[in-house]
């Protein structure tokens, strides 16, 4: 800055400063000029000379290397002090062209790629993909496979919500729930490992069914775990739900009404916290969700605290769903009648599941060959992130951290 001022005043001889410094100086001189112009403009509007206490915008780059952006999200903030005047998310740092990859590979080969979109909830991604292709092929999934898919989905939802709980706790300064949540998540990952051999990028579903049957003893261990889990959830709640600091940081932050949620296309826990009881598992049931008994938790206020409560209650409901599915499990086929070479009719189809983040949809256009002609993902994180500027406006920088946490984004899915 000093160098810039000196250069602007012309006190330093030109040969002494390098080109880089000159550029820098020019940049700062320009910035200073622009700031002066803005201040003059502001004073012209208010009729008073600019003072120290006028609104002075500062541009703050929040990310891409910031501990609270949950990946490589960059938000360009305009702040006045700590108050956010404008927030512009800048995404795409993790863009890998997954949709292009789908087009180059046969239908079954697409499944592992879906793991890498929302990498904390790979099972639901697999599920949405397989569901789309099954719809295109009009394949019936055997009942046992349906039940196991639902169990995997709900375990995945639990694990995804646990990650969310831990990380958004850390964002607000509560470190300990993170460790407790990850302790439980570790157990869920162990179940996945035992079932399909991987912990994170599961690749645990195939078009028409499942790759494996369950290992012996798996159901008992899962039952034991889900029986144990509500007490653990109580523990997290004891740390956070009634805590006055937690409440202060979340109640009334990022309020959005149900109408607005629909307008912005927000889905998942976000819309349910705003009073819209809309859950794809209930609204457009897939697999065997219609016969299961569970509650779609909703709250009315649409603030960060309600979104927290909704997610925690969803975890409890997932426990119930897993229990019911375990009771219903009977021996049987796990793979539907799918031809070895999948060549669907030249048609287009859209199918979606309720992923932990919201509506995860796949839109598949087939041209009759063994590769999808076009495969498009409707990523809930991407669409939900869109509303961040709306949520963040007028709040403080500290709240932005809470808001990024509360819409629960995974950058792998945002950028694909």
């Amino acid at each position: 800055m000093e160098a810039a001022l000196r250069a602007a005043a012309g006190t330093m001889s030109d040969d002494k400063i390098s080109q880089a410094e000159k550029d820098e100086a020019a940049y700062f001189a320009e910035r200073a000029k622009a700031a002066a112009a803005r201040a003059a403009e502001a004073s012209a509007v208010t009729g008073t000379p600019p003072t120290l206490f006028d609104v002075q915008e500062m541009e703050l780059n929040f990310g891409p290397q910031h501990p609270s952006t949950h990946g490589v999200l960059r938000i360009v903030l305009k702040v006045d002090g700590e108050k956010i005047l404008e927030a512009k998310p800048d995404v795409g740092y993790l863009h890998r062209g997954t949709e292009k990859l789908f087009e180059t590979e046969t239908y079954p080969m697409g499944v592992p790629h879906t793991d890498r979109m929302d990498y904390v909830a790979a099972a639901t991604n697999n599920h949405a993909y397989c569901l789309t292709i099954e719809k295109l092929l009009a394949v019936e999934v055997p009942r046992r496979a349906q039940l196991i898919r639902v169990i995997l989905d709900e375990l995945q939802r639990l694990s995804s919500h646990l990650v969310w709980l831990g990380t958004s706790g850390i964002d607000l300064g509560a470190v300990t729930p993170f460790w407790y949540a990850f302790r439980e998540r570790e157990q869920i990952l162990d179940f996945f490992e035992e079932y399909c051999g991987a912990r994170l990028t599961l690749n645990c579903m195939r078009i028409g069914g499942l790759p494996f049957d369950l290992t012996p003893g798996w159901t008992e261990r899962v039952a034991e775990f889900v029986d144990d889990l509500p007490a653990r959830i109580d523990e997290y709640e004891q740390l956070l739900t009634d805590n006055r600091i937690w409440k202060k940081r979340t109640v009334g932050i990022g309020v959005i009404s149900g109408e607005e949620c629909i307008e912005w296309g927000l889905t998942g826990p976000v819309i349910r916290a705003s009073g819209v009881e809309w859950d794809l598992r209930r609204a457009q049931p897939y697999e065997c969700y219609e016969e299961l008994d569970f509650v779609v938790p909703t709250r009315q206020n649409g603030d960060t605290y309600d979104r927290y409560i909704v997610r925690v209650q969803e975890m409890r409901q997932s426990v119930r769903i897993v229990r019911q599915c375990l009771e219903r499990l009977e021996p049987g086929e796990i793979r539907g009648k799918v031809p070895r070479v999948i060549k669907p009719v030249a048609e287009e189809v859209y199918a979606s599941v309720e992923s932990p983040k919201g509506e995860l949809g796949f839109y598949c256009v087939s041209n009759g060959s063994n590769k999808p002609y076009r495969m498009h993902v409707r990523p809930p994180s991407f669409i939900n992130l869109q509303a961040l500027p709306r949520l963040a406006k007028g709040h403080l920088v500290s709240d932005l951290v809470a808001l990024i946490g509360t819409i629960d984004i995974v950058l792998g899915e945002v950028d694909r």
């Binding site: 795409g92 719809k135 819209v276 669409i383």
Partner: protein
């Protein structure tokens, strides 16, 4: 397990004409000459409309038919077809608990009216479509690239965009293989690496 081709063909689902569907009828009544065709496949209604009236179609679907939630906007590149692109919209109605797919065809370089003023949710989707396919939307408030960076040349999801990518000048990981290895093929003198 193998079925005969005829049998297999019979088992395959087929699309049916859906021009008589009430939503299509209502669309046709409100906006004459917009609906090109309509079909139903796997219980999903697809309506093809004229490109220029897409904003009005969206408005009509939102106001009259209660499709208030814009699920998604994307496009399909048909490479050799004229016009080249299909822009695909998905809408959802909470009261009907149903989805509708609206498509319109657009040639390369043509502008499609933006529906971002009708549905806020379409904003980023249209930006993504512009970024990935190069279909520009007229009347969009902020049509910038979103997943690639400003100044990126080309539109990755077009069929003529190479899968390996293009040289953008950005420093990416160099392609390195052990001697004799890699996808280049046979090499009798390949030394065994340990």
């Amino acid at each position: 397990m193998e079925k005969s081709p005829a049998e297999e063909k019979k088992a395959r689902p087929e699309a049916t004409d859906a021009s008589g569907h009430p939503w299509v009828e209502s669309l046709r009544a409100a906006l004459p000459d917009t609906v090109v065709s309509a079909k139903s496949f796997a219980g999903q209604i697809t309506v093809v409309v004229q490109k220029d009236s897409i904003a009005r179609v969206a408005r009509h679907l939102k106001d009259a038919e209660d499709f208030r939630y814009c699920v998604d906007v994307t496009a399909v590149d048909w490479k050799t077809r004229v016009p080249r692109f299909d822009v695909v919209y998905h809408f959802y109605s909470f009261s009907k608990n149903a989805r509708i797919r609206v498509k319109c065809a657009a040639a390369d370089g043509e502008e499609v009216p933006s529906i971002a003023s009708v549905f806020l949710a379409a904003n980023w989707c249209e930006r993504e479509t512009w970024d990935m396919f190069g279909i520009s939307f007229s009347g969009h408030p902020d049509l910038r690239r979103i997943l690639t960076w400003e100044g990126f040349k080309g539109h990755p999801l077009r069929k003529d965009f190479p899968l390996e990518g293009i040289d953008t000048g950005a420093a990416i990981y160099p392609e390195e293989w052990p001697e004799g290895g890699g996808p280049s093929g046979k090499d009798p003198n390949r030394k065994v690496v340990s």
